[in-house]
């Protein structure tokens, strides 16, 4: 995995804590006020010294490593996917679980199972492409008392209250998330082996030792299941993508945000790319990516290996932020050129940190052969600069 992606990860990790702190001060139906905001923006980041750090290659063992790694401060499980009904009606979804440790393990309990040193946060978003409706919700909980957690034994499971993903067989997972308004029940089957991003799952993010993360993906999860909006229920199918990353690290200066692309093509290949939004507008040397071949073989991409051109922008009516909304990605030295368009413009989450995370469609050429596909894109740092906040 690239260093940039790592920073993204770290930034999100910090976000988890910030949101956790913020949540404590606001009920969801309360407007954000000045005093509360100042507290969200001025958190005390816990001491990192006693946590484990990613300091070199690691032997991964599955399904064990699908579970949590509490010795690291930050960890997340990130599910996105593009679905369609038999009639061709398209939907995109995002279900993300973040874990953040407040103190190194173990929790200092005197007997109560509520004693927690882990905080879990989850986002669940649904893009209804036909009606252009974007729905999202956020949950927060302690990682204790059975309210939220992640485990690999007896089977992998990550959950926050009634949102969960759990293993139900060999390479098979059940994803379930439910709000009053919408609901998703999916069956995911991993068609490839877990992708070890970066250097065999280890990604150095800066010159310092330990400034890195461990990063695993499941880049092609065949998906089928049920989707409910209001009273309407559809059978859906499609492809999902899972990212799982854990680390103990802080961000370096100079970044205001990031762009992340996860693309699944009809030729059986996937592409993961990220670029950093730098304050100075320069190309960040930590930009990077991975090409996953149909057989699961991977190729690392460094910042010099690709270009991302922005073709369109979209201004959010909610935050007023202007996001890129159309891209052309060119992989240099290979005949890969992909044009990427959001399936609908408004997929902005106005949670504690405002960001755009949405379903996209892809058209282009892959080694001279036309390809189509779908994917997910994450854009941060447009509504507000991440710089200086963590």
């Amino acid at each position: 995995m690239s260093k940039t992606r790592f920073r993204v990860a770290a930034a999100v990790a910090v976000l988890v804590v910030l949101i956790a702190v913020g949540w404590l001060f606001f009920s969801p139906d309360k407007p954000v006020d000045q005093a509360g905001m100042s507290m969200v923006l001025a958190p005390a980041i816990p001491v990192e010294g006693q946590f484990a750090r990613a300091e070199g290659l690691r032997e991964f063992s599955f399904p064990l490593d699908h579970g949590q790694h509490p010795e690291f401060q930050t960890e997340w499980w990130y599910y996105t996917g593009n679905l369609q009904t038999v009639e061709g009606r398209r939907f995109g979804y995002e279900l993300t679980f973040f874990r953040r440790a407040l103190t190194p393990p173990p929790a200092l309990s005197n007997g109560s199972v509520w004693r927690a040193n882990q905080v879990y946060l989850a986002h669940f978003a649904l893009s209804d492409i036909e009606t252009q409706a974007f729905r999202y919700q956020e949950l927060l909980s302690r990682g204790a008392a059975g309210l939220a957690g992640a485990q690999s034994e007896p089977a992998f499971e990550v959950w926050l209250e009634d949102w969960s993903v759990r293993q139900i067989g060999n390479n098979r997972y059940a994803l379930s998330a439910n709000t009053e308004d919408y609901e998703l029940k999916l069956d995911l089957t991993d068609l490839k082996v877990p992708v070890l991003q970066g250097n065999r799952g280890y990604s150095q993010k800066g010159p310092e030792a330990g400034n890195a993360s461990y990063y695993i993906s499941q880049s092609r999860l065949e998906t089928s299941g049920e989707l409910r909006i209001g009273e309407n229920v559809w059978d859906v199918s499609g492809l999902s993508w899972m990212d799982h990353e854990f680390s103990t690290s802080a961000l370096s200066a100079g970044q205001v945000g990031w762009n992340w692309f996860a693309i699944q093509l009809d030729n059986g290949s996937e592409l993961m790319l990220f670029t950093l939004q730098r304050e100075d507008g320069e190309l960040d040397p930590f930009n990077g990516g991975t090409i996953i071949e149909p057989d699961g073989a991977t190729r690392m991409l460094s910042s010099a290996d690709f270009q991302v051109e922005i073709r369109e922008t979209w201004r959010s009516p909610h935050s007023g932020a202007e996001y890129p909304s159309e891209w052309v990605i060119t992989i240099l030295n290979e005949e890969i050129r992909l044009s990427i368009k959001p399936l609908m413009p408004d997929q902005e989450l106005n949670t504690f940190i405002t960001y755009w995370e949405g379903a996209v469609e892809v058209q282009g050429e892959w080694n001279g052969v036309p390809v189509n596909g779908f994917g997910y894109v994450e854009l941060t740092g447009y509504a507000e600069s991440m710089q200086g906040k963590f």
């Binding site: 956790a20 702190v21 949540w23 404590l24 001060f25 606001f26 009920s27 969801p28 139906d29 309360k30 954000v32 006020d33 005093a35 509360g36 507290m39 001025a42 958190p43 005390a44 816990p46 407040l102 103190t103 929790a107 200092l108 309990s109 005197n110 007997g111 109560s112 199972v113 509520w114 004693r115 927690a116 040193n117 905080v119 927060l140 909980s141 302690r142 204790a144 008392a145 059975g146 309210l147 959950w159 209250e161 009634d162 439910n178 009053e180």
Partner: protein
């Protein structure tokens, strides 16, 4: 009476001269005005102080409850004991817990924090903000405290004010007491509330993460309840949630939970209010008396005014205007005095409420403005209303010449009899009111007032009779003056009777209340002797004076069971369970002699048969509970149990004065089997013959191995403690009694002053005829002394009637207690003493003034 339109008269027609007349009268009779103002002021003050105390107690309860319940609309609570924490997790995991928050609470105290009870509130901050928002927006809170708050065992948050007052700074550790055990806690940070209300609530709270609260209270795996916010427009949600809950768990509205607790104090507070109104009523007697008197004195003036073209409305307005001045001045003064008095009453009432009903953790709730407004408005309007009859009297004065007073006094004789008759009617209708079968207190209190007023109206007749009867005796003792004094009183009955009635009412209240308290005390003493048969009692420290519901360390039971020198140890488990009728106190006992150690109001057999019935699953109800639920032997009592509703046969109703909400007694084995609760809250020890209880207490205190601080006391000191609470409970009643007497005293003083001043001319003549100063003293003292004596004597039957009403109507209905009437002659002696000495004291000033006045000056006065 359409001739009278005071409002319009004052606004549009009132000639300036009349305003000046009224003002001058008030000013020129400064003494008289001052006493009227004082009378009203005291009446209002007493009322306001009690209302303040009641309002403060209610507000303290409300804030204490709100500090814990927050914005919750419903609660999931166990029918007894605690909830399993998995109920909450399941609620969340099943997606039904969107607006739900788990709560672990406990009453704690800390020497460092002043020793008063505080609410340990264990919350899940991730779920709590919609409910309580202590960590919410607006409240200042150091986020650095968050990580230790969640992760460090023993970490708590306090309000910045409470921490500052106690000299604690974040990072410090201090000791916290919970149910007799000491725990070390750590101040992770402080909270500064955004508004005054939150600040008051917060000052009674020790905030902890739910994990910390579980660990501090030993409630591992259990929570007290789950708070919910359910939308009002979706009533089905509650039913659906309830359906999913396991047996033994109930969903109920917060109102019904808090309401039932507040209801318990309602009767107590209403009775205090009623008692405080008595002081005002006595004050109004004074106003009525003084106003009537001032009108009578000025009949000729009003006659002249009328012949000069002043209308009836204007005369009416003149008198009412004077009353208004007095009423406003008196009420204002009364509010000030009330606030001062309130400093004591608030403490006394909240002490009683805390002793008997619930522990409030919020103190210093401020002065409720509503009490002041209420007191002021009632003071002014009551004064005006009282002034209406004399004002009408004044308005009816015919132009030209005023009638002679003798004519008025002739009328008075008739009026006396009419008054007596209507007094009888009033008292009779009061008694009729008692017959209304209701649990509501209002008819009873109205009836009481009617009976008291009825007796007051009868006092004129009684006074006439008494004075006639006493004349020969005083004549023999004091000669002509001795005959003159009663005759004077009878001839001025229109004014003296009112004064005597006021004093009589006040003294009767004193007698009635002390007879009631005495009977109560006597009853409780007898009951304690019967009920407390153990030699030594062990319990855990509790914040209420009620039966403790705090569990004793199980290790203690093991040790006590094999303690040398004991004949027997009886376990008692007292707790609160749910029933279809609301919460019920229950006590489970192992005492094999329980049938013998209760006084039964109704029983299904002899003591042994009752104990046997108890063993077989029947229950015994305390009298207040039986009254409240309308149950008696042969009936069944429905209770919620962990396995559903269950009916329990009632085998007996026993007298019990431990709580006014009542309790029920069940056999321990039955209780444990049904509720699965093995805790013990009190141990009663029977010693082997010849053992010294004090010695055993000392041995237990030093020898029991436990980390829990226990209260171990011999029978005697437990009884003393109970009686101490009893006396504390009635301290406020006794204080009110004294205040009412003071108001009456002022009434008498004022009346006598007026009476004697009015007679200046007559006395001038007497002086001119050679009456010495000493004889004048004698005459005045005889007159006032006779009034006091009359009032004191008449107060005795009124007092007895009042105490009978208090005991058999008010108390029984309010609290469900039957008291044994105990006629203590001391009460009457005290009443008589108060009446006569008040009257004699009140005679001193006029006697002194009149005796110093020259005859010529006295005659010239008019």
């Amino acid at each position: 009476m359409k001739r009278i339109a005071p409002g319009r008269a004052i606004k549009t027609q009132y000639p300036r001269i009349l305003v000046r007349l009224g003002w001058q009268y008030v000013v020129h009779h400064a003494w008289q005005s001052f006493l009227m103002v004082l009378g009203i002021a005291l009446g209002v003050a007493v009322m306001v102080s009690i209302d303040l105390a009641n309002a403060s107690a209610s507000r303290a309860f409300m804030l204490s409850a709100e500090a814990v319940t927050g914005k919750a609309t419903h609660q999931i609570a166990p029918i007894s004991g605690m909830l399993d924490e998995s109920i909450y997790t399941n609620l969340r995991i099943s997606g039904n817990g969107e607006l739900a928050a788990p709560v672990v609470t406990g009453l704690v105290s800390s020497e460092v924090l002043g020793g008063a009870p505080l609410q340990l509130l264990g919350i899940d901050p991730f779920a709590d903000s919609p409910f309580r928002g202590y960590l919410g927006s607006g409240n200042k809170f150091d986020t650095g405290a968050l990580t230790p708050f969640l992760t460090r065992p023993g970490a708590v948050l306090l309000s910045a004010e409470l921490a500052g007052r106690s000299g604690l700074t974040p990072g410090e550790s201090f000791a916290l007491n919970f149910e007799g055990r000491t725990r070390e806690v750590y101040l992770a940070g402080t909270l500064a509330a955004a508004d005054a209300l939150t600040r008051r609530s917060l000052n009674g709270v020790v905030l902890a993460d739910i994990a910390t609260a579980q660990e501090l209270t030993g409630k591992i795996g259990r929570i007290d309840r789950i708070d919910l916010i359910l939308p009002e427009d979706e009533p089905d949600r509650a039913a659906a949630l309830q359906a999913d809950l396991p047996a033994g768990v109930r969903l109920e509205t917060v109102e019904s939970r808090n309401g039932s607790i507040e209801q318990m104090t309602a009767a107590f507070q209403l009775n205090l209010t009623a008692l405080s109104m008595l002081a005002l009523v006595v004050g109004l007697f004074l106003i009525y008396n003084t106003m009537t008197f001032s009108v009578v004195r000025r009949r000729s003036l009003f006659g002249t005014l009328r012949s000069l073209g002043v209308t009836r409305s204007e005369v009416f307005a003149l008198v009412i205007g004077e009353a208004l001045i007095v009423g406003v001045a008196g009420s204002l003064l009364g509010l000030g005095l009330g606030i001062l008095l309130g400093r004591n009453t608030v403490g006394m009432v909240s002490q009683t409420v805390n002793d008997l009903y619930f522990t409030t953790t919020v103190r210093g709730v401020g002065i409720p403005v509503s009490s002041l407004v209420k007191g002021g408005v009632i003071g002014v309007f009551a004064t005006l209303a009282t002034a209406v009859p004399p004002a009408v009297e004044a308005a009816l004065v015919e132009p030209r010449a005023a009638q002679l007073r003798s004519g008025l006094e002739k009328k008075t004789r008739l009026i006396t009899w009419l008054m007596g008759l209507s007094g009888l009617l009033l008292a009779g209708s009061g008694v009729l009111l008692f017959q209304i079968p209701t649990k509501n207190n209002v008819p009873g209190l109205v009836g009481t007032v009617l009976v008291v007023i009825g007796f007051a109206m009868l006092s004129a007749v009684g006074m006439r009779g008494l004075l006639m009867a006493v004349t020969p005796l005083t004549g023999r003792l004091f000669g002509s003056l001795g005959r003159m004094a009663p005759r004077n009183l009878v001839s001025t009955l229109s004014r003296t009777a009112v004064a005597v009635a006021a004093l009589m009412v006040a003294v009767a209240v004193t007698i009635g209340v002390s007879l009631m308290i005495g009977s109560f005390r006597h009853t409780v003493t007898v009951w304690l002797e019967q009920t407390l048969q153990g030699d030594v009692y062990i319990s855990a420290p509790s914040f209420t004076a009620n039966t403790s519901t705090i569990s004793i360390d199980p290790q203690v039971m093991e040790q006590v069971a094999v303690w040398p020198g004991l004949a027997r140890a009886d376990w008692l488990r007292s707790t609160v369970i749910e029933s279809p009728e609301g919460q019920v106190r229950i006590s489970a006992t192992t005492n094999p002699d329980v049938g013998k150690e209760r006084l039964f109001k109704a029983s299904s057999g002899n003591p042994d048969e009752i104990t046997q019935a108890l063993r077989e699953g029947s229950v015994l109800l305390s009298e207040p509970l039986a009254n409240r639920l309308g149950l008696t032997i042969g009936d069944t009592l429905l209770l919620y149990t962990p396995t559903g509703e269950k009916a329990f046969p009632v085998a007996g109703v026993f007298y019990d004065y431990a709580s006014s909400e009542g309790s029920l007694l069940i056999w321990m084995e039955q209780f444990r089997q049904i509720w699965g609760d093995t805790a013990v809250t009190s141990i009663g020890l029977r010693l082997l013959p010849g053992s010294d209880p004090d010695q055993v207490v000392r041995e237990l205190q030093s020898g029991l191995q436990t980390d829990q601080q226990l209260i171990i006391r011999p029978n005697r000191s437990l009884r003393q403690d109970v009686m101490e609470v009893f006396d504390r409970t009635f301290a406020i009643t006794a204080a009110l009694q004294i205040l009412a007497t003071i108001v009456a005293f002022i009434g008498v003083l004022s009346t006598l002053l007026l009476l004697q001043l009015e007679k200046q001319r007559e006395i001038g003549v007497l002086r001119a005829l050679g009456l010495t100063g000493k004889q004048l003293w004698l005459l005045v003292m005889l007159e006032t002394g006779l009034m006091g004596l009359t009032a004191g004597i008449l107060a005795a039957p009124t007092g007895v009637a009042l105490s009978l009403i208090l005991i058999y109507v008010i108390n029984l209905r309010s609290f469900g207690w039957t008291l044994q009437f105990d006629m203590n002659p001391g009460a009457f002696a005290m009443g008589l003493l108060i009446a006569v000495s008040a009257a004699l004291l009140a005679g001193v000033v006029p006697a002194w003034r009149l005796s110093r006045m020259e005859a010529a000056e006295a005659i010239r006065y008019e």
